[in-house]
Structure formats: structure tokens, C-alpha cells
Symmetry: C2
């Protein structure tokens, strides 16, 4: 078990052998590998036992803590982060693995409600392990034959669920922000192909129209793509706005709508917006990173009515579908290889045209990346295991649980919903007894604003649960609970409300 020293030993033993047949360059004996693969496998095997025990078994156990909170200063001391000249023995590295898991957040725990992802999905996790162990990149069929075809199959199926009868195209990306960025770039390319070559210097001022509550990545994309954050016009998208923009000499080239906003889980009326976009010939993109999951459910897919009419959409299976992070698809209703034309650079060292197979399977030039992870496999494997039917049940159950949570909040004294939930986001205040008799008004809001941060601090320091809070427009801090995981039950939701009450009642 001294893999990391094998190399050193190897050099030492060889240098004592005065054998002139051994090739030596720059003092390196070049025969034989310097890593004992067998010992390395043994190390990986031992590490896997730790991972299984601590990151899989304990991390999903409701009786364990969600987190072992340490401040940055405390954690730095605990972890000994410094990187040194000398390596450490394997036992020490295994201990470091264990520590890394211990002080990481248990996002698979049934009391983790903090993000738009949660829970442990065994099939997807296994797929992600396979991706890591096979270590390859999705640019050519040659180095990623299996994953290339799986991405194609998953995209085709997702497009089918979206309802683009003519088919479409797509690409998996490192996150929904990237997908939204692709949308802006494609919309711009459709508006004027020359911008790819000439840049925006001679272009008229171009603007993106977006509905309220859009994700901040639209703004980030506008900044990055040279469009500018001030040219993201946040509005109720209607005909007046479009006309008004044109009168001002600006060119609206794209509308962004959201299916499942980050905080409230609200859905824009896609059909209505599609009418406007058709009339004014605007690219319609829907950021359905979060809400796209509703397409899996016959009961809830009406939330995205009109999605079959949009030009592109972002949908992250790593959110409600529970695929491992990251698993984000950008889909485009197009059969003219727009994605390829918009992004291609035709690197001759990678995308040789004289290969012996059909090079249309080399999908790398659709991407702004070069190396790209085969994230689609994480969704493919779980889809194979669960089938569409069980994925639908997961979505339906998550939304039923969210409904239950909202009902409980309505029943409980001191709890108040911000609004009836439209999706799986349940936003509410906890009002401690000391504030319950205050009249609605600035004093109450100001005091209420401080409650959620303190309750959050207390739950993290205790390690009992995690839930996010935020303001929204003029509203004081409120909790946002999100129900995703099928590992979550009614009991966990009851616990969460009890715990918030318990932690905040003295405030």
C-alpha cells in the first residue's frame, strides 16, 4: 500500500543496476511503468468503501446531521489545506477523503431543502462514477462512442417530450447559465450571421426582452456576449414593448421567458408570449431549467403550455429529475444545424474530415467548449432504470408534497405563505410569537427580516436541516423550501416546520 512511493523506489532500485542496456535519459530509467497499478487499484478500492459508508449511507440517513458546520477559519485549521513538496502516505490520504466528506454538506439528506437540487439518485450517481472512471471527453465519436450516442438518444427523447414534432437539436452543458448563453448566441446568429465574423461594432443596439424574475444568467450572458446588461429589458413582454423598442432605434432579437422561476417557481404564459414573438419574428427562449421537469407529468405539463412553439429551451435534469450534478440540456427547435454553424471553428487537429467513420457523430463543434463532459449519460441510465412512468411519479409526488407543505403552513400559527405555490417552491415566513401582535407595517417587516437569517444560522450550527431564505422585491426575508427528492416524506416536512418553529420561537 505505498503506491505513491512506487515511483521513487523504482528509480532507486534501478540506479543500482549497472545495466547499460537500460535506456536512461536525463537520469530517468525509462523501462517499466512508475506506477504500481495494482496498488493503485487497492487504494481506489479502500477509498470507495469510505465513500460508500460516509458519502452514500450516512449522508442519506435521516438520523445523521445535514452538516457539520465550521467557519472558514475553523475549517482551514481542521483540513490542513497547504500543498507541500512531499507527498503523504495513503492512510493519510484516506483520512483526508473521510474529512472532505464529513465537513461537506449532505445534499442527499432528507432535510436538505436549500437548493434546486437534492437527494441521492443511485442510478445517476453510478453513471457519474462511470464517467469519472472512463475519463473521456465528448467532442469526437472516436474517444467517446458510447456517450455520444447516449447524448443523442437523450436529446431526442427530451425533444419528443417537449413536443417538437419536426425534431430538433441540442447539447448538454455545464449548467443552465451556459444553456441560456447558448440561447442568446443562437438568437443573435439567427438575427444576423455576420456578427460571428464581424462582431457587434457596426451593429444596431440589440436588446433582449425578458419577463420579470428571470434568472441572473440572462444578464451575465448579455454582459459576456457584448450586448450589455442594460440591453436586457425586463418587462411584461407585449406588443407595446416591442414597438416601443423599435421606435427607440433598438432591435429586439430575442425574448426570454421562464418556466419555474428560481425563487417563487412561477411560470410565464408561454403561449401568449409565443404569439408576440411570432408576430414580431423574435427568437423565443424558455429557461425551463427548473420547471422543465413538469413536462414529465401528464398532470402538470400544462404549466408549460405552448412550449412546442418556442425556438429553444434550457432544461436541467439535475434539478427535479435528480440527475447528478451537472446535467443541463440546451434544446433548439431547428433542423438546419444552426448550433453547429453558430459555434463551429473547424479545428483540423480534432475534426479531421478524412476519418473512417461518419464524422457527423463528432459533435464537438456544436459547443463553445472543447473538452466537454458526457453528462447526458447520468440522465440516460436513470431513465433506463426508472422509465418515464416512474419519473413522472417522482414529479407528481414532489408537487403533492409541496401542496401538503403549503396546507400545513396555512394551518399552523405563526407561519404564513408568501403566495400559494405554483410549483415545488414553497415560500413562507415564520413569525415568532413576539412579532405576532405587531400591526402590518415597516416595524414588523424590519423585525421579520432578521428572523430567517438567525434561524438559518441556528439550523446550520445544529446541523438539523438546511433551507434557503431571501428577499423578493419589497418583501422581507422569507424561507424558500423546495421539495425534490423521493426520499423526502410528509414526516420530513413536518419536521422542517417544527424545527423552524423550535429554532425561531424566542426571536
Amino acid at each position: 500500500m505505498e503506491t505513491h512511493l512506487e515511483g521513487v523506489k523504482f528509480y532507486e532500485s534501478q540506479s543500482n543496476v549497472a545495466d547499460s542496456r537500460l535506456p536512461v535519459i536525463n537520469n530517468f530509467v525509462l523501462n517499466g511503468p512508475t506506477v504500481d497499478v495494482h496498488a493503485a487499484e487497492e487504494f481506489v478500492h479502500q477509498a470507495m468503501e469510505i465513500i460508500m459508508d460516509e458519502a452514500v449511507r450516512k449522508s442519506t440517513d435521516v438520523k445523521e446531521k445535514v452538516c457539520e458546520w465550521r467557519s472558514p477559519e475553523q475549517l482551514k485549521e481542521l483540513l490542513d489545506l497547504e500543498l507541500r513538496d512531499e507527498g503523504e502516505p495513503e492512510a493519510k490520504i484516506l483520512q483526508r477523503c473521510s474529512e472532505a466528506i464529513r465537513y461537506s454538506i449532505k445534499t442527499g439528506h432528507p432535510h436538505f431543502f436549500n437548493q434546486l437540487y437534492a437527494g441521492m439518485e443511485p442510478y445517476s450517481m453510478v453513471a457519474s462514477f462511470i464517467i469519472e472512471a472512463t475519463k473521456t471527453s465528448l467532442y469526437t465519436y472516436e474517444v467517446a462512442p458510447v456517450f455520444t450516442l447516449m447524448e443523442e438518444a437523450v436529446l431526442r427523447k427530451m425533444i419528443e417530450m417537449v413536443g417538437w414534432k419536426e425534431g430538433g437539436d441540442g447539447i448538454f452543458n455545464p449548467g443552465g447559465s451556459m444553456s441560456n448563453m447558448y440561447a442568446v448566441n443562437l438568437a443573435r446568429y439567427r438575427y444576423c450571421r455576420d456578427i460571428k465574423m464581424n462582431g457587434l461594432f457596426a451593429a444596431p443596439r440589440m436588446v433582449i426582452l425578458t419577463s420579470q424574475e428571470c434568472h441572473y444568467s440572462i444578464s451575465k450572458a448579455a454582459a459576456l456576449l457584448g450586448i450589455g446588461t442594460k440591453n436586457v429589458i425586463i418587462c411584461c413582454v407585449n406588443m407595446c414593448v416591442c414597438v416601443c423598442m423599435r421606435v427607440q432605434g433598438a432591435v429586439p432579437f430575442m425574448v426570454n421567458a421562464t418556466a419555474g422561476t428560481t425563487v417563487l417557481g412561477a411560470f410565464d404564459p408561454i403561449d401568449e408570449i409565443a404569439d408576440i414573438c411570432e408576430k414580431y419574428d423574435l427568437w423565443l427562449h424558455v429557461d425551463a431549467c427548473w420547471g422543465g421537469a413538469a413536462l414529465m407529468s401528464n398532470k402538470h405539463k400544462h404549466l408549460l403550455n405552448g412550449i412546442h412553439r418556442v425556438n429553444s429551451m434550457a432544461w436541467n435534469p439535475h434539478k427535479m429529475m435528480m440527475a447528478s450534478l451537472q446535467c443541463s440540456a440546451f434544446l433548439v427547435r431547428d433542423k438546419t444545424s444552426l448550433l453547429q454553424h453558430c459555434h463551429s471553428a473547424q479545428a483540423s487537429y480534432l475534426f479531421q474530415q478524412d476519418k473512417f467513420y461518419d464524422v457527423s457523430y463528432d459533435t464537438g463543434d456544436k459547443s463553445v467548449q472543447c473538452s466537454r463532459k458526457p453528462d447526458a449519460f447520468k440522465f440516460w441510465l436513470m431513465w433506463k432504470a426508472l422509465g418515464t412512468t416512474e419519473m413522472e411519479q417522482r414529479v407528481d409526488r414532489a408537487l403533492a408534497l409541496a401542496r401538503y407543505l403549503a396546507q400545513e403552513i396555512n394551518k399552523r400559527e405563526g407561519f404564513q405563505l408568501l403566495m400559494e405555490p405554483e410549483f415545488a417552491n414553497v415560500c413562507f415566513w415564520y413569525i415568532p410569537p413576539s412579532l405576532r401582535n405587531l400591526p402590518a407595517g415597516p416595524e414588523l417587516w424590519e423585525k421579520l427580516h432578521t428572523v430567517a437569517p438567525v434561524v438559518k444560522e441556528r439550523m446550520m450550527k445544529k446541523g438539523s436541516m438546511m433551507v434557503g431564505y431571501q428577499t423578493h422585491r419589497d418583501k422581507p426575508n422569507f424561507f424558500r423550501m423546495v421539495v425534490i427528492s423521493p426520499q423526502v416524506s410528509r414526516e420530513d416536512l413536518d419536521f422542517a416546520l417544527d424545527e423552524i418553529q423550535h429554532l425561531g420561537k424566542d426571536l
Copy 2:
């Protein structure tokens, strides 16, 4: 062992219980989780055994094949890619895991020379498994405390090796193309901060100067960022060019140099270019995705002389350092939070300022992404295990092996180097006997051009090895062998040359 059916069973059994105390919404009984976590763990455990055996042990075994080549059509039939309504039993899913590995390329095999990554790095692989099992995202300290601090530690150490005495900043990205994109955006932001808000519509024509042989991602970045591909001026960067550009009314705002080009492994003279950049106040970025590894070696770091003077650099530890894919750092010599200012969008739901810990540890707003993988951990763990010393030895040994390979090519009849290697890229032709008597000239080049693709086809169909080929300027197709892995030895290089000869001698 029927995890994926647990949910179904659960609903069935509950629906027979006429217990009115059970909360039911939309026909879903909400008590208890619908996933049997214990059975799920058992599934993960069984899958891990397959992964260990097939993706770790067999895939690195020199006696096994590098690939089981199947055409897209054949592979589609073998894999049954279609996604259906009904899920499959676990035994079937385990079989699918096994198949996915079987038909994937064994990039950890000692005869895989096809990419600028190769080999199985056990520590980094384990780190990547931990990342997958802990499933979190690197935007706030709150959900990724350990990985946030590890990224900070790795960046600090990398910056120390680069030699930026005043320190710097950085971020890990999904690939070097993204790092280069960050460089263009930062350079533009430094040139004119208003572009972030206003876009490029009123800006003068801006140009990027880049040395020959730069990676195609510079062009992709220019297209995406609204600068335009024609405004990437490929030139020998010197004073004349800078002056000439200005005379033409264009504004050069950035110079891109390359340390370790993709095909030839060539290094631009950073010091000379830095002189020009200082004189003309241009942002100097060095794409050292590939060549950055030389900084680990006292013997070879002279290749990057002057790197301490540049404004930013890209360095991918997933290449010669062998970290798991992806592990790509963008480093910037700046202490004014330029990265943060350039990319921030201050999402209030994520980066609340009233948190109970120091929110400067919430690094998410430095990024153009929202979710971001904690890739730095893959480098941190291997660095801890190996120490700088052994990482240096790996680099030195890889370059000694490349030197050996070049020497052998010079010795062998029918093999010819394109040039003496500057780094670990060894570029050469194999000239079959039938062509050896042809005089240098168009006929020879034309025939030679067809040799590498056929040899490549044969090696893949046989599964004996993988090596890339490409043209370069007016040169006909040649092989590019890259030596990276410490699992590779002199014997493997001899094999590769023998095999190319064996596969191509009849051509």
C-alpha cells in the same frame, strides 16, 4: 434488490390500507420515503464492483485492448439506446453499466496516446468520486465549504508556482476554452468597464492579437463575445503589428500567446511578447493549458520564461498533471477583484449579504456559470498524495520519454520527425516501403497524406492502440504521439512504433 420498484410497491401496499390518518394528495400517500435507500446502496455497491473491475483494473491493463471499435450503427444496435415508459430491473441496469464501459475508449490504457490527457490517476479519480457522491455546487461556502477552501488553496499554490509575487486570483472552469474566454472578457473589461453594461455597439473595433498556432477557442471566444472571428489577428506579435492596427483604427486590447501548442507543443517567447504588451499597455494572456505543467519542473520551467509578467493564464491540470477530467484553472494576476467585478450579477437569492459567515467565501459571482463543479479538489487530493516533488518527476519523466521516442524515430527506417519535439508532442510520419523511393514532391505528399488515416483505422479496429493524426499548414497527415502517463514506459513506445510499422507497411 428492486430499488426502482420500491416506489410502486409502496403505493400499492398503502392504497390497500384504508387509514384515514395517512395524508393523501392527488392520490399520493405522502408518508415515508419512496426509495429504499438501503437497497439503493446495495445497487451502488454492486455497480462499484463492476466499475473497479472493468473501468479501473482491465482498462489500465496493457494486455487488454484500448478499444472495442464499433461503428455508430453497430453500437446503436448493441446498446438499445431508446428510453421507454417502463423501467428496467437492476440486473439489466448493471449489465448496461458494464456495456457502457466495454465500448468506451480505455483512456487509462498505456497505449492510449490520442489526446492531451491519458492515464488513470488514482488519487484524482477518488476525488472525482467524492465530488459525485457529495453532489454539490461551488457558488456559496454554505453548500460547499470544503471545496471552496480547497479551490482557494490550489489556486494560491498554482499562482505561487507561476511566480506572481503579489498574489492573484483565479477560478476553475469546465475546460480551457472557458478559461481563454474568461481572459478575453477580463481584458475587455480592463480596457473599458462600460462594455459590461452598454455592450459593444458604440465601441471602436477591438482586436485580439494572437500568435500562430493558437487554440481554436480564441476564435470561438471572439465569436461568442461579440468581437468577431475576423478581429482575431493571427500574427507574429511585434511592435509593427500594434502600430499598424492602431493606424487602421482598430484597438488591440489583448495579446494571446501559447505555451504548448496543441499539435506541435511549441512555446511562444513570453518575455519578448511581454515587452511589447507592456509598451502598448495590452493585456497579455498565455494559454498554457497544455504547457503549464512545465512550471512543475525545475528542469523545464524555462519554457515559460516571463510567465510572471503576464496578466492571465489558462492551465489545465487534467492534461499532463493527469487530474481527472475536467480540471482547468484560469489564473489572473490581479488583486483588485477584477474577476468578481467583471462577472458579478449579485443574485440576491444566492449571495445574500446578511449571512452569518464571511460572504467573501461565496465565490460564485466570479463565474459566468451558476452551478459550478468543485474540480479543484481533484488536483488538491493528488497534490497532497504526491507532493510537488513527485509531480515534478512525472513531468520530467514524460519529457524524457518523449525525447526517447524522438530518438527512436530518428533511428528507424521509414519514420521521420516533423520537427525535434519542444515538449511532449512527438510529431512524425510513417513512410511505408512503397513510398520510400519516391522523390520529395507532390506525389509523395499526396500518397503519404493517406497513410495515417488508414493506419489509424486499422489500429482502432484491432484495438491495439490509439494515436492522433492531423495535417499542419501544408504538411500532409502525420501522427502526433503524446506521452503523459507515468504508467507508460519505454516498452510501450517501442510497441507503438512497431505497431504503426506493422499496420502500415503494406500501404
